[in-house]
């Protein structure tokens, strides 16, 4: 039954008949398109043309449209092409496609220099928008927080504890493992290079200061931005897509209070804890390598560490943690609430959340370094 489609030209007196036979369906669309394109070249000839479709075995939208297109293209000048021999089964289908206007589709994806310049301009202007959005969210979160301070019962404790479990408790193994390895690497590299100057023991000073002041908190913040910041954005984003946030709003709840504040509080509490655990793991790893690879006995390591670092180093490190947590949380929530209807948009905003989160964490770290240097800590 599925026979190859054909379009034969038969001269009948003064007229030319185009006899369509076989199966005119989607499966044969490429062949059909070529045949029809060939036949369209007959347009403008002297004789009148009609298309005979009485022998067509099977017709679907593709076939019907191609016959209709052929008819339209052959109808140039005074001679109108006709379709003949249409069975009643298919006439409604042909009528259906006859109503279609062939509108040219404009493809707006062409790359132009002005278009690229425009994009650069928009991106630059977008930076201002990003900062405004962050400040806006910071204000909204603070306002919600003050409301909670005044009415402590409106705090969503269950939700906060749930998020604490997600971002703090469940993050402990991976954070401890990674910071432990980083501590090991720092110690190994330090010993390897300091040994040339006979200064092996200074590796303890370097490890202590570096881990407590910088690496501990910075590394942990970057990991948290990747792990929890992205999760926040994806959660809020998909809630936005499914109109769950609109639903909250119509019930008289403030999404900031219900969704954002518990997440922010969990993160602000979690990051100092994780940073502390991370610093301890890094010191432990460094001490282990110093002992096994550098031959520094644990007692000597601890004695040296006590001399090398003061509580100031620890404070400088840990003070940064809640601020970085707030930055990560705000960026993640702003991006989450900015998600539009498509899956693509969700992906873009999750990426932006992590990239911007890490960027701001590093910027904040620089600002803190300048600040602590100027107050002499």
């Amino acid at each position: 039954m599925n026979s190859d489609p054909k379009l034969e030209r038969i001269a009948k007196g003064n007229a030319l008949a185009l006899c369509a036979t076989g199966t005119w369906t989607a499966s044969f669309a490429p062949v059909l398109e070529r045949m029809v394109a060939d036949a369209e070249k007959l347009a403008g000839g002297p004789q009148s043309i009609f298309i005979d479709v009485s022998e067509v075995a099977k017709l679907d939208t593709f076939g019907a449209w191609l016959i209709e297109r052929l008819r339209r293209n052959l109808t140039k000048g005074p001679v109108e092409a006709q379709i003949a021999g249409l069975s009643t089964n298919y006439s409604s289908l042909v009528d259906e496609v006859r109503r279609v206007r062939a509108t040219a589709v404009v493809d707006s994806s062409a790359i132009t220099i002005t278009g690229m310049l425009e994009q650069i301009g928009r991106a630059v202007a977008g930076v201002g928008g990003t900062i405004a959005g962050l400040v806006d969210m910071l204000g909204a979160v603070l306002a919600a927080w003050f409301r909670v301070l005044i009415h402590p019962r409106s705090l969503r404790l269950t939700s906060t504890v749930h998020h604490m479990e997600q971002v703090c408790w469940r993050a402990v193994p991976i954070i401890v493992l990674i910071t432990f390895l980083i501590g090991c690497i720092i110690a190994q590299q330090g010993i390897f290079h300091f040994r040339r100057f006979g200064a092996d023991i200074f590796v303890v000073d370097m490890l202590g200061v570096l881990v407590l002041r910088e690496i501990g908190v910075l590394l942990v913040a970057i990991m948290v931005a990747g792990r929890s910041g992205s999760a926040y954005t994806a959660e809020l984003g998909s809630m936005k897509m499914r109109e769950e946030i609109d639903a909250l709003r119509t019930m008289g709840f403030d999404p900031i209070e219900v969704l954002v504040l518990p997440r922010m509080m969990a993160l602000v509490l979690a990051l100092p804890i994780l940073a502390f655990l991370g610093a301890m793991a890094a010191l432990y790893g460094g001490g282990l390598v110093a002992w096994l690879y550098g031959g520094v006995e644990p007692e000597a390591f601890l004695l040296r560490l006590r001399d090398a670092i003061s509580i100031d180093h620890f404070i400088v490190g840990i003070v940064k943690a809640p601020v970085m947590a707030a930055v990560i949380g705000i960026v993640a929530c702003v991006e989450g609430l900015a998600v539009q209807g498509s899956a693509e948009s969700l992906g873009q905003h999750t990426t932006a959340s992590v990239v911007k989160g890490i960027f701001f964490v590093i910027v904040m770290d620089g600002v803190f370094a300048i600040f602590f240097a100027s107050i002499g800590m």
Partner: protein, 256 residues
């Protein structure tokens, strides 16, 4: 090919589907004949969508066999299965349009994968499909998130019909549409069935659809087909659920 005309287009035999310990479908048999519009009804949660998804192959079954176009889907080769999938179209309950593609790209997606035709022809066919489902050409460049619920249904139908399938599965096509829109949709399905010779497998709750669009009705209950036949058979049935369904307040309103 000749045998296929007499044989049912879908033949479901003794299928059992289980989630954990809950048995949703229990030795169910169903035939769908070529060229008919089968309305599939049953109480909420009876497993109508599960049966549809089982036939399409999205839900694994514990036992039984499914034949579509005479091909047993369990023992078929990948090529055979691909060929069957090309000949059916599915309209999901929520539309399931690809959110990152425009309406035009959504409708062209199956064509682009399966047919080697020019962009021009694809664009023209897309416009024809949009016109068939009653949408304006301007809709083509919009994204799914910019469409109303009814438009999403229509675009999803256009995508399901993109390759001119022989069989379409419609999962609650008229739910969420206003009565006029739903009436248009029924009319549309009827027209398309006539013009394209479609076989339609329609899960629905809409009594109007059952009366105006469907040739035959199958009723699901307790994991089995409890009745199948014309609307008149359904009305004559003594089964308690059917009596309630077809003689309730809403049913009387439709009949008068």
């Amino acid at each position: 090919m000749a045998g296929e005309i007499q044989n049912p287009i879908i033949r479901v035999r003794d299928i059992t589907v289980q989630f954990g310990t809950t048995r949703v479908l229990d030795g169910l048999n169903l035939d769908v004949k070529r060229g008919e519009i089968l309305g599939f009804v049953g109480p909420s949660g009876a497993g109508k969508s599960v049966l549809t998804r089982t036939i399409i192959g999205l839900v694994p079954k514990v036992a039984g066999s499914i034949e579509v176009f005479g091909v047993d889907l369990d023992s078929s080769s990948t090529a055979q299965r691909r060929n069957v999938e090309r000949r059916w179209g599915v309209l999901f309950q929520q539309g399931a349009l690809f959110s990152s593609l425009t309406v035009r790209q959504n409708i062209q997606f199956p064509m682009r994968e399966y047919l080697r035709v020019s962009q021009r022809l694809m664009d023209e066919i897309t416009m024809a499909k949009l016109a068939m489902v009653g949408l304006k050409p301007e809709v083509a460049e919009r994204f799914p998130s910019e469409l109303s619920g009814g438009m999403i249904k229509r675009v999803a139908l256009a995508r399901a019909l993109s390759l001119d399938p022989d069989l379409v599965f419609l999962d609650e096509p008229t739910s969420g549409l206003d009565p006029i829109g739903a009436g248009d949709f029924d009319e549309l399905v009827r027209t398309l069935q006539r013009t394209l010779g479609l076989t339609v497998f329609m899960v629905t709750h809409d009594l109007d659809s059952l009366y105006t669009a469907c040739d035959r009705i199958a009723v699901l209950g307790n994991g089995k087909i409890i009745a199948a036949g014309s609307i008149a058979d359904m009305q004559a049935s003594q089964h308690p659920w059917l009596r309630q369904y077809f003689h309730g307040k809403r049913a009387r309103a439709v009949m008068t």
